[in-house]
Symmetry: C2
Subunit: 415 residues, 2 copies
């Protein structure tokens, strides 16, 4: 199986030159070549360079795409989603437009708990069907890898149901899927008044089972006011690390209770959200090598403060952008729109935004040795856009500019 | 030619009961019926009501759509666009993300003048081709009527070229198009230092020719700091009114120089932008019956202040939402995304947003006697969305939820 993309109008490689992520000014260095070719064999990129230098003898029976109308970029990596859920919460959206806050809605029976109720009531098969439809739509918008968190089950059986649904989708759907265990998303009603008992249940039963069955690569905790304390988060994440799992943390979304300091202390792979991070904590993240995953769609959707991506980048923290796709705080999975939000609302440059949805997002999933850039040896996850220039992608917003999606060397067909 | 939409899961009529627009609390009254039917003959809606009450004898040889999976809404009316232009300005987008303001970019040779340069250099045929492609994409996103302004020509020949291109598209494209004369969009470089001479050229030559040839329904002026003064705008708009043209005004976008007071004084049909309007002026607009066209995409794209839509509605000004689609300050024509912006950033309710993109937007084009709601006697411009509830449209953002577009009773096919 060979595929040659030739005469690519503009190729954006986000080439990492062997590095696993980009930080600081290097985030602007996205490797742009005009009139380029990419040669793919058995799903792997074998050659990248100017069209005129392509060694024709490499191509034997390759399918050929003449890409003279296209800008080519690495497929997008969405490193933070809550994809598997039932129900929808458009009524809360309407309540919010009348002035209710996210917390007030949660107190009125909405919020995460309303999705937990609907998700518990759904079968694994129903959840898979809903999630697969969303994965299809995400791929049409250029996403080729997605992290998927559990966290709407909040008891052993239902968390396992979500993780198994995710695991099965991983083998059945062309999307590369990275499952994350997030039983520590909220406290279930059954544990009212005895939150530490839920933390024990997570550490003593749910995490060991998840690790043993290899149901998740990452463990994540929502460490925030009204959710898990820093001590509870530390207990859970250390347990996960001791079981050989990778770790992430939801930090500083609603209030700063010290979650990003904990992220640095535990050297988690990524600290996500960071709307309320302080400049001292930004320095801590930089020192610990933690990736900052910013989620501009949430700030947009809830009219909250945006994370200070500008300072994070300027201090040298590698920044990734993710959608946080979920029914309560960001009902969108459009990575190009997240890039528009990053450029218009967080003052990231178009180049930084591209690095943040490709290489650095792959690094936030510990996958950047395999995906996230267009380089020989990496998996051939590539999007083609019929636009005049890569800057156009974040600029012309609210419309899907992805013309073709190539996943592991195969051109996807959409119904 | 008959068409029956039957078993519509949820029909949103935005019924006006003979009124031409909605104001105040009435904007939330959007006429929702479950399991409804709409019967169309020769492009006109003949019957609307609960499916079980449909008089079967009306339908003789009607095509039938079983719409049990769809929410039906009136086609969207985009009452403010600068659709006909050449060139693109993604490089300015990148400059802005690095901290340059809209004005600084204009002073550096960007801004409206860079589009004027590219548009003057393009032929009418080239402009039509670019515009037709954009019109196709707008229709796919649910827009069935679009206002189109001139204003990138800024001399008689080029303004006429734009208006003629628009006029020809009006007859060649399924979109209902309303042309607006906006030679007073900026001062052309040829008139540096003698701005009043350009105002005279507009009033003495360009406007009379436009009116005589019936090239535009509306006359509009960009009345703002650095653009046209209140006195210049008054001169132009009074001249247009004397020639029998309808009038609009770009008011209070960058600074408040009294443009919305002028809008009320002249009883223009709509005052557009209004980011800097005062509460006294809101009351003036309410008294003059002027429609406020808010443009949340511009505030989003430029990180400017949003118009105070909440106060405008609460005081009783009829509010419409438009895209302001243009290459410099809002490179998007997605009306659903404009609704999301209105709900998340301006605290409009989903119902108010729907009224604002349908009936009130039609009123801003003086077309609400014919379009803007799903009522017997009106043209059959209807969108069908495969969503659970009308609130989902603004809620699930960044993806095109429009499944089918019916224009004057014909189901459009998209390539």
């Amino acid at each position: 199986m060979q595929l040659l993309l030739k005469n690519i109008k503009q190729l954006v490689t986000v080439s990492a030159d062997g590095n696993l992520m980009k930080a600081g000014k290097d985030m602007r260095n996205i490797g742009v070549t005009e009139n380029a070719s990419v040669f793919i064999e058995d799903g792997i990129i074998r050659w990248v360079g100017p069209s005129k230098e392509f060694p024709d003898k490499m191509k034997k029976d390759a399918d050929v795409i003449d890409a003279r109308d296209y800008v080519a970029l690495p497929g997008f990596v969405d490193a933070h989603t809550h994809l598997v859920f039932a129900g929808s919460r458009e009524h809360e959206f309407a309540m919010r437009s009348q002035g209710m806050t996210y917390q007030q809605i949660a107190e009125a029976g909405g919020g995460i708990m309303s999705t937990v109720k609907a998700t518990r009531a759904a079968t694994k098969k129903e959840l898979k069907k809903l999630a697969a439809k969303r994965l299809d739509a995400m791929m049409k918008h250029g996403t080729t890898t997605a992290e998927v968190k559990s966290g709407y089950g909040l008891d052993e059986d239902n968390e396992v149901k979500l993780l198994e649904a995710t695991k099965e989708l991983e083998s059945e759907h062309p999307m590369t899927i990275v499952p994350t265990f997030l039983a520590a998303h909220a406290f279930p009603p059954e544990y009212a008044g005895r939150h530490d008992d839920y933390v024990s249940a997570i550490c003593e039963r749910m995490l060991p089972y998840t690790a043993k069955k290899n149901l998740a690569k990452f463990c994540d905790v929502f460490c925030d006011k009204g959710y898990f304390t820093v001590d509870q988060a530390r207990t859970i994440l250390k347990k996960a690390q001791s079981l050989g799992m990778e770790s992430k943390i939801h930090a500083d979304e609603l209030e700063n209770i010290g979650a990003s300091s904990l992220a640095a202390e535990l050297s988690v792979v990524s600290a996500d959200h960071l709307e309320q991070i302080t400049s001292e904590e930004i320095t801590k993240l930089q020192k610990s090598g933690t990736i900052a995953v910013v989620l501009p769609g949430v700030s947009f959707f809830l009219s909250h403060k945006y994370a200070d991506a500008r300072s994070l980048i300027d201090v040298g923290v590698p920044v990734a952008i993710a959608s946080d796709f979920n029914p309560g705080s960001c009902m969108s999975f459009s990575m190009p729109l997240m890039m528009t939000l990053a450029c218009t609302q967080m003052r990231m440059t178009p180049e930084e935004a591209i690095t943040a949805v490709t290489l650095n997002a792959a690094a936030a999933l510990k996958l950047s040795q395999k995906i996230g850039s267009i380089e020989a040896g990496k998996e051939a996850d590539i999007v083609l856009c019929e636009i005049p220039d890569y800057r156009f992608l974040a600029y012309h917003f609210g419309v899907n500019l992805i013309s073709k999606v190539i996943k592991k060397g195969t051109i996807l067909e959409f119904s």
